[in-house]
Structures are given as C-alpha cells and as structure tokens.
C-alpha cells in the first residue's frame, strides 16, 4: 500500500517537473475512453470469480514522445504519457454484495510504434457496497424490508495493463484493446483493509483532435 502511494507521488512529481516543456511538444489532444469487463478474484478454495465492469476516460496530462530516426529517415515515435483517469465501476458478489466504485487513477502509459502499449495505474476513490439479498431492518420489535441498504468504504487500487492502440498506426481506426490485472483494497471492514485481486479485459475508443 505504501509503495503504491510512493508511485503515485513519483508520477505526480514527474509531471510537475517536466509537464510545461512536454505540453509544448504535444500536437494532438487525446482522450482514450475505456470499457472493461472485470472479474473480482477470490483466492479461496475453490477460487471464485465475481463479474463486474469498469469505465474510465483518460485526460492526458503530459506526453513525452521518444523519437528515433530510422535508416530510411522515417521517424519512429514511442509515446510516453501520463493520464488522469476518472473511473466508475462495479462488481457483484452473489448473495453477498454489489460494490459501486467511483474515483480516479493516475496512469503512466508507454505506446510503441507498433501500437502495443503497457500502462501502470494507481488510484483511489469511494466505494459503496449494497447487500445482495433481501434486507430486513429490525427496529422496536418489528421488521421492515428495505431496499438499497449498504455501507461506505474508501478504495485504493493499482493495476498493470498490456494492450494495442490501433490508432497509433492508423488514425482511421480509433480503437484499442487491452488485458490486465490489479489489486484494490477496501476499508474499513472490521478496522482492516480487505484486498481484492482482479483481472480485466477492455476495449478502448480513442478521440484525437489536432491542436491549433
């Protein structure tokens, strides 16, 4: 947990130091919108999978492309970008709870000339957990069935993804896809953090716009 925090601070620091110069190099604005199916893993015996979904949109904070000149004078550009990615998502654990998440990641993404990319994400947010079965509230000796009963948590998360951004080679195809995995931690539950490993598989739609 402490290391994740350190990484987030490091990325923020890198942006502050290099941001103004790098912004000047950026010629296009880029907004990748991502939708992913996630599965919340429970590493019990047997391992169980609980389904969910995550949607996020990346606001690019900086890009520091690395340019190589090839022998035939064609440039090869590797994008190195930092995004602020607000996200909303959920997962459902059958007969237990459904969790809604809302928050933001900071993402470092490296995209190679082929369009293959990897990224690292750290983030935090709010989580609301709804009980997944009828809830009867006991008060003054009698019961009332109530809907949308749950409780609040904070969530911190980290993930690594690997994917392909097809728009890198051909701007007429504004799509990409990625797979990845990560961990999120919710708090508090009996005063401690509860960790959740998860896997994700996502589609990306990239909106690019020339800057004037």
């Amino acid at each position: 947990m402490y290391k994740q925090l350190q990484l987030a601070l490091l990325l923020g620091w890198a942006f502050l130091v290099t941001g103004p110069e790098l912004s000047a190099q950026t010629e296009q604005s880029k907004l990748p919108i991502q939708v992913s199916a996630i599965t919340d893993l429970d590493l019990g015996d047997p391992i169980s999978f609980s389904p969910g979904m995550m949607v996020d949109a990346g606001i690019r904070l900086m890009n520091k492309p690395k340019i190589k000149n090839k022998i035939n004078s064609v440039q090869s550009v590797r994008d190195r970008e930092i995004y602020l990615k607000p996200f909303v998502g959920f997962y459902k654990r059958e007969d237990y709870h459904t969790a809604l998440m809302l928050g933001s990641d900071i993402t470092y993404r490296a995209t190679y000339p082929s369009g293959i990319f990897w990224d690292m994400n750290v983030g935090a947010g709010y989580m609301h957990l709804f009980y997944n079965a009828p809830v009867y509230v006991y008060d003054n000796g009698s019961f009332t069935q109530k809907k949308f009963q749950g409780y609040a948590n904070v969530v911190v998360k980290g993930a690594i993804n690997l994917g392909v951004d097809l728009s890198k080679k051909n701007e007429n195809i504004p799509l990409g896809f990625y797979v990845g995995g990560g961990m999120f931690f919710r708090y508090p539950n009996n005063d401690y953090w509860v960790k959740h490993p998860y896997l994700q598989l996502g589609l990306m739609y990239v909106i690019k716009k020339d800057k004037k």
């Binding site: 992913s36 199916a37 996630i38 599965t39 429970d42 590493l43 019990g44 169980s48 999978f49 609980s50 389904p51 969910g52 979904m53 459902k92 654990r93 059958e94 007969d95 237990y96 709870h97 957990l129 009980y131 997944n132 079965a133 009828p134 809830v135 009867y136 509230v137 006991y138 000796g141 009698s142 019961f143 109530k146 009963q149 409780y151 097809l166 195809i173 799509l175 896809f177 508090p188 539950n189 009996n190 005063d191 401690y192 509860v194 960790k195 959740h196 896997l199 598989l201 996502g202 589609l203």
Partner: protein, 356 residues
C-alpha cells in the same frame, strides 16, 4: 478488425458471466439468503430446509468470529434440512458479516441482542412456530448468556441444544491447557516428538492462562493431539456459499477474538456463567465429543479447578428432571456434528420431534 472486436466481446462476456452457481435446493426445500439489520450492522441469515416446516433451529456458531454457514458442511446439521428449517446466522464482525462495527459493539451483551433479533426474524418473517436454539463452542456461551440474561426470552423457544459449549471460558480453557500438558507429558514418556513437546511444556510454563493472545499457539498444540478434531475421516456434504471475501472471513476470528468482552472484560478471562445456569428451564440437550480437548466435558486429571463442562452443566442447569439429556460422542472431539454427523443428526432430530 471486426473479428478482433467480436472475439474481445466474446471473451468479455465469458468473464462477466463467470460466477459461482446457485445450487437448487430441490423439491419442497428452500435455501434463501437474507440480511437482518440491527443496530447498524446487517447480519447474514440463511434459511435452508423443508419449505413447509414451521419448526426451525437456529445455529449459533463458535469461534468467536466463525461462521454458521460452515455447519452446512457437516452431515450432523445438513441432515436436519429435509425435516426442519435451519437458520444459519453469522454474528457481528464474524464469518460472512460485513461492515465495520465499533469495538464497543463487540460484546456478549450486543451479541445477545443480535441473537434476539434473529429469533424474532425466525418467528415474524420466516413464520416458524416452534424454534430451537443451538449453540456450539463459543456459541454455547453466547446462547447460555442469551437465555440467562433475560429469562423471558426462553418463552420464545421450544428447546435448547448446547454442543461443546463455552459457558465457562476461563475454566474450560484451564482444563484444556491441562489436557494438552497431560498429552505432552505422555508423548515425552513414549519418546514421541519429545523435543517438540518439551517446547510445548515451556510454552505452558510461561503462559499460565490461555487467552486471546496465545490462543493460536494453544490450538496448534491441541490439534497435534487431536483435541479439536479426533475423527477427521468424515463425510463432508457439498454446499453452495455466497461469494464472500475469504480474506475478511479468515481475519474475523482474530478481530472478534481479541475484542469481544463481557461486562467490559475479555471473555477469555471473565465469561463464567456457571452460577447462572440454574435459570435455564427449557428442555435441553447437551451434546459433547467425549474426546474434546478444547472444552473438556469431564474432569481432566491434574486440573486443580476441576472444571468439567458437560458434567457441570448437567449438575447446574435448572432444567426440570426429564427434560435434560446428555449424549457423549465417543469418537469425536470438539466437532461431533462433523465427526459423527449421521448419529448426531438422528439424536437431534429425535429431541426436536419430542419437543416441537
């Protein structure tokens, strides 16, 4: 391109639909999860068994911090479901219970209030007309407290079943400590793992009392002597479970064990209801593994206080003569509902049929 997107969407749909499958309880049977929310915490309650039965038995788990739903993996409890409704509930901070109760609520007083809410739920919402209460291990202490703290609660019940019950925790664990010391000495005499057992004796020399902080070490020595489970060769019925969080489930016994109190003091040092047992007037069935080393049913040689939990209960309970029963399970330690499950279920069914 389209093929790629199609393949990705197909893979995504597989992930989204991958989840544990609900198990059909079968014709005439019910298996439904609920939450009973009381004093800010929603307690998971599972109702499983004969749909048309108005006789219910409430399972109160041990630990503290365990889960009643694990009883579904024992034939001693599972075999009750064809005839009765079985109510599995998890205590505050325990098992599959979620949320973040304040430590002020991790008390036997609050737990007794919670149990009362579950009893009322069984009566008012599930519609049971005859309700039995079973407490196992720590759950035996909690249920004994529930019945004696407010004796009017007994009118809601048809009968009480205490299984290897911790109604006197310091006395029971004192006897357990001596039970392991006796086992260690016997092993040293037989030269079986003598070095290991000498270390165990050193541990007990420096720990004159079993409390929350050293309980895990004690349980480790106890298990080595088969004091918790004597007969591990038993049938385990399969069960569907809610998609609970294993990490939380495994942490809860530590959280509750280290925090639970009675009158502001740890139950490990302060929960002794021996003097209250005469308030119990309900038909009562005392069920115990004869080889239980965790809460020994009979006097343990060398234990100065002479605690004998089953014998003491039979002597001290205020149950009218003829309504108090004892069954000792010769091939069981602390889990007779698992270790001798089929016999356990038959004995319990007979008791419930008699008093329902």
């Amino acid at each position: 391109m389209r093929k790629w997107i199609f393949n990705i969407l197909m893979l995504a749909s597989v992930i989204v639909t991958a989840c544990s499958k609900y198990e059909d309880p079968g014709a005439g049977q019910v298996d439904q999860q609920y939450f009973v929310k009381t004093d800010g915490i929603a307690l998971p309650v599972r109702v499983a068994g004969k749909e048309s039965s108005d006789v219910a038995i409430i399972m109160t788990h041990g630990g503290p911090g365990g889960s009643s739903q694990s009883f579904r993996l024992t034939s001693g409890i599972r075999n009750l479901e064809p005839n009765f409704k079985v109510i599995y509930w998890d205590q505050r901070g325990s098992g599959m219970t979620q949320g973040n109760p304040s430590k002020d609520q991790i008390t036997i007083e609050q737990y007794a209030k919670d149990l009362d809410a579950v009893v009322e739920f069984t009566r008012q919402v599930i519609g049971a007309k005859s309700i039995f209460l079973l407490g196992h291990s720590w759950g035996g202490g909690l249920t004994a407290y529930y019945l004696t703290e407010d004796v009017s609660r007994q009118a809601k019940l048809k009968g009480y079943i205490i299984v290897c019950g911790a109604y006197n925790v310091p006395g029971g664990l004192g006897a357990s400590r001596q039970w392991v010391i006796n086992g260690a000495n016997a092993s040293i005499l037989l030269n079986k793992d003598a070095d290991y057992w000498r270390k165990a004796l050193q541990f007990y020399n420096s720990n004159p009392q079993v409390i929350a902080d050293n309980f895990v070490d004690h349980a480790t020595y106890l298990n080595k002597l088969k004091g918790a489970v004597y007969n591990s060769n038993f049938e385990r019925p399969k069960s569907y479970f809610p998609a609970f969080e294993t990490v939380a489930f495994l942490n809860n016994p530590f959280f509750v064990g280290h925090n639970i109190t009675v009158k502001g003091e740890s139950i490990y040092t302060a929960l002794d209801l021996s003097a209250e047992l005469n308030k119990i007037k309900l038909p009562t069935f005392v069920m115990w593994g004869e080889r239980d080393g965790l809460l020994p049913p009979h006097k343990v040689p060398g234990h100065a206080a002479g605690t004998a939990l089953a014998d003491d209960f039979l002597r001290l309970a205020g149950v009218p003569e003829g309504d108090l029963y004892y069954m000792g399970y010769a091939n069981s330690a602390h889990e007779p509902m698992a270790e001798e499950g089929p016999k356990f279920a038959v004995d319990l069914t007979n008791f419930m049929n008699k008093y329902k």
